[in-house]
């Protein structure tokens, strides 16, 4: 899901950076100093979890988990994901520097959207309802991220249109896997530690 430096046009880069800064500012305002250890440790857990590779056909895919991040952190997903992307760019060489804003927005905004969309459904006492909203959250966030990535490519030039379409189609299996995994995780969390869902609300 990382776009590399050099592919996007300057207006797209600038828009992404501005939107990300706004999102991070909102997230930081919602983040109390007392919650720092909580969010820091959770964001480390998400970082580790996103390195789990699941087999798919002849290759393997890794999860983005931005749906689950959104369901637990809400707006704080913005700073948490920016930190993760920054670490990945600087220490692991994934992504790039100027495109950081676009990447952060593409991954964190769906997380926030899913947070508002699924918040009610997750409070249900019926386990089936919780699972369904978890699946919707996981698959929906990945779907939105893929759309945003495709859109940032498409806005950067007509030459990228086909690439944008291929990106979306290639990610449909990942959306399905992400939905199942997030659904299962949400069911477990709502049983064992329900306060983990929406802790910064």
């Amino acid at each position: 899901m990382h776009i590399v430096d050099g592919a996007l046009s300057a207006p797209v880069l600038a828009t992404g950076a501005v939107l990300s800064i706004a999102g991070v500012a909102i997230g930081l305002r919602k983040l109390d100093y007392n919650q720092l250890p909580q969010v820091g440790v959770l964001s480390a857990a998400f970082f580790v979890a996103s390195y789990i590779h699941l087999p798919l056909g002849f290759s393997s895919v890794h999860l983005i988990l931005n749906g689950l991040i959104g369901l637990t952190l809400g707006w704080v997903a913005f700073p948490a994901l920016l930190v993760a992307l920054l670490l990945q760019a600087v220490f692991f060489g994934f992504g790039g520097f100027l495109v950081l804003g676009v990447n952060a927005f593409n991954i964190a905004m769906p997380a926030v959207l899913v947070f508002y969309l699924c918040r009610k459904g997750l409070q249900s006492t019926n386990q089936r309802t919780v699972a369904i909203w978890g699946v919707v959250g996981g698959a929906g966030a990945t779907c939105a991220t893929t759309l945003f990535v495709a859109l940032s490519l498409a806005l950067s030039g007509d030459a990228f249109l086909l690439a944008a379409k291929v990106t979306f189609i290639a990610h449909i299996p990942i959306m399905i896997i992400e939905g199942f995994v997030t659904g299962a995780a949400v069911v477990l969390i709502s049983k064992v530690k329900p306060e983990l869902l929406g802790i910064t609300d």
């Binding site: 820091g40 440790v41 590779h53 798919l56 700073p79 690439a163 995780a185």
Partner: protein, 265 residues
């Protein structure tokens, strides 16, 4: 699927990347971060293959200067290139062709354009230049040094604290994850493409988060016990040495020259 493939060439070692001390480490971290940001702008924003090419050479030079492990860097950069490879392969075919003279070659009835190929090369060169420079100059700092310098440059302290916390617990949570995976393996769990695998991994991630949350409660209690009241102190007050000023005095005109080249050529 073999165990060692699961972390696809980019696993971290402990809390920092081990590397030999080099010339680059002698400069102030803030200067390094700011210069790399400027470098990225100069390389990425103009659409000049010459400037991007010079940027790539500088990136390689920096990697040599930083005495990074070539094999590891090569693997990392290759991993990034695999990300964009299909974009680059497709670009020559998807760029609209205006004059027939621009057609480079034909493949299965698809026409590849000269501009598209140039564009693809340009993207690849830019991306590699920035990543190499980033890994060599910023990636060789310890994460703590990186966080503190960000705070000194003016990045929000809350964000920096979040970064420091994340880095601090990456390895701890990573160990926890490995322990849980080993327990699953001991019960003959094998990753497959089915609902059972996905549900189990979902439970694994859920449990990882719950344990992380409970760990953070213990951390918070321990911190409160030591008098934490919502503020960290950044203890290092690094000051710029003469060599940092020389570096700035040398590199800023050089970057300016690159911009000039991009504008004129």
């Amino acid at each position: 699927m073999p165990q060692n493939l699961e972390h696809s060439g980019s696993s971290w070692k402990g809390q920092q990347l081990k590397h030999q001390t080099s010339l680059i480490d002698r400069f102030d971290a803030r200067v390094r971060i700011v210069l790399i940001a400027l470098f990225a702008c100069v390389v990425v924003l103009p659409n000049s293959l010459l400037v991007a090419g010079i940027g790539l050479l500088i990136g390689l030079l920096l990697v040599v200067l930083a005495r990074l492990n070539m094999k590891r860097i090569f693997r990392r950069v290759l991993a990034m290139d695999m990300f964009m490879i299909f974009l680059i392969i497709m670009l020559p075919f998807t760029t609209p062709i205006k004059v027939p003279a621009d057609i480079l070659f034909e493949l299965f009835g698809l026409q590849a354009s000269r501009q598209g190929l140039l564009h693809a090369v340009l993207i690849a060169v830019k991306a590699n230049a920035v990543v190499l420079a980033l890994l060599a100059v910023v990636g060789t700092m310890s994460a703590t040094q990186f966080g503190h310098s960000l705070a000194r440059i003016g990045v929000s302290e809350k964000l920096v604290h979040l970064l420091l916390f994340t880095v601090r617990y990456l390895d701890v949570i990573g160990q926890e994850y490995k322990r849980m995976r080993r327990a699953m393996q001991a019960r003959a769990f094998v990753l497959r493409v089915d609902k059972h695998t996905w549900r189990s991994i979902g439970y694994l991630i859920g449990m990882l988060l719950i344990r992380a949350m409970e760990r953070s409660e213990r951390i918070m209690n321990a911190m409160k016990c030591r008098g934490y009241h919502g503020q960290f102190y950044l203890l290092d007050h690094g000051s710029l040495a003469a060599r940092d000023y020389y570096l700035v005095a040398l590199s800023v005109p050089f970057l300016g020259m690159l911009i000039g080249m991009a504008l004129i050529l």
